[in-house]
Amino acid sequence: MDVKCRKIGRCLVVTLSGEMDHHSASAARRQIDGAFHAEGAQHIIFDCHPLAFMDSAGLGLVMGRYRTAASLGGKVALACVSRQLDRIFTMAGIYRIVQKAPSVEAAVQLLEGGHA
């Protein structure tokens, strides 16, 4: 699995590609947390477009990043969620704490609100 991070406004955009499981989640977690603090970001957006597979380890990762962002008053959004991912996120009730957006740009809008 491959993780790429970039910053748009106050959002850290994390692009996940490949397969997210327990094996790949720990390295992804370190990389995302490192970038989040290094970039001084407030919110986290997961761009799930190139993510081919995810199991409950991905849920743990998203829930953990929600806690990290929330502790700094930030929020988390999920962009470009496939059908398989949507079923998993819905089952876990994750949309009660994170928002879903059709694109990264829409997610940035959602999290930054009017004051970009």
């Binding site: 499981d21 327990h22 094996h23 977690r29 199991d55 409950s56 380890a57 849920l59 059908r83 089952m91």
Partner: protein
């Protein structure tokens, strides 16, 4: 050569409890299930369920230590049965372990949704476990019969399609 006597279609794999093998287990079950001409959704379902079961064996059964994970996939008509077994620490209270959001290792940021996902994505799930002896997870899923060609349906002989004048 031995004659094959009533052998069902199956594959068995035994692998070490290294986390890299979670992906390997998914590849094995995907390749085995391919002969059913599954939908993408069906394939995602079994891949996810296997990933959860094998991860449980590695993370909980062996607590990250080394051991063996056994996986058996068996096909009867269009029903796929998958058994994942370890000889690890076992689960004292299976019912509690199967509750959504339950995790025995909260420090590892696990979601506690593993059994819930296996239940949701497969038709049947059973868990046998004994502390100190290991855990066996057996799950089944029936695959849909592929439609011939949805864009060119067979002429309907029941007379409901209209166009046929005969009684």
């Amino acid at each position: 050569m031995h004659a094959t006597q009533n052998l069902s279609d199956f594959i068995e794999a035994t692998f070490s409890s290294r986390s890299e093998n979670e992906a390997l287990a998914r590849v094995i079950v995907s390749a085995f299930a391919a002969r059913l001409d599954p939908t993408l959704e069906e394939l995602d379902d079994v891949r996810t369920a296997v990933s959860e079961a094998v991860t449980n064996a590695i993370v909980h059964g062996y607590r990250g230590g080394l051991g063996q994970v056994h996986m058996r996939c068996e096909l009867q008509q269009r029903t796929l049965t998958i058994a994942v077994e370890d000889e690890g620490v076992g689960i004292a209270d299976v019912e509690q372990a199967m509750q959504p959001l339950y995790t025995s290792r909260p420090e590892e940021e696990r979601s506690g949704m593993g059994f819930t996902m296996m239940q949701a994505f497969m038709d049947k799930l059973s868990v046998e476990s004994k502390p100190g002896c290991g855990t066996k997870v057996v799950m089944c899923k029936s695959f849909r019969v592929p439609q011939d060609d949805a864009t060119n349906p067979e002429p309907d002989s029941s007379g409901q399609t209209g166009g046929h004048e005969e009684p």
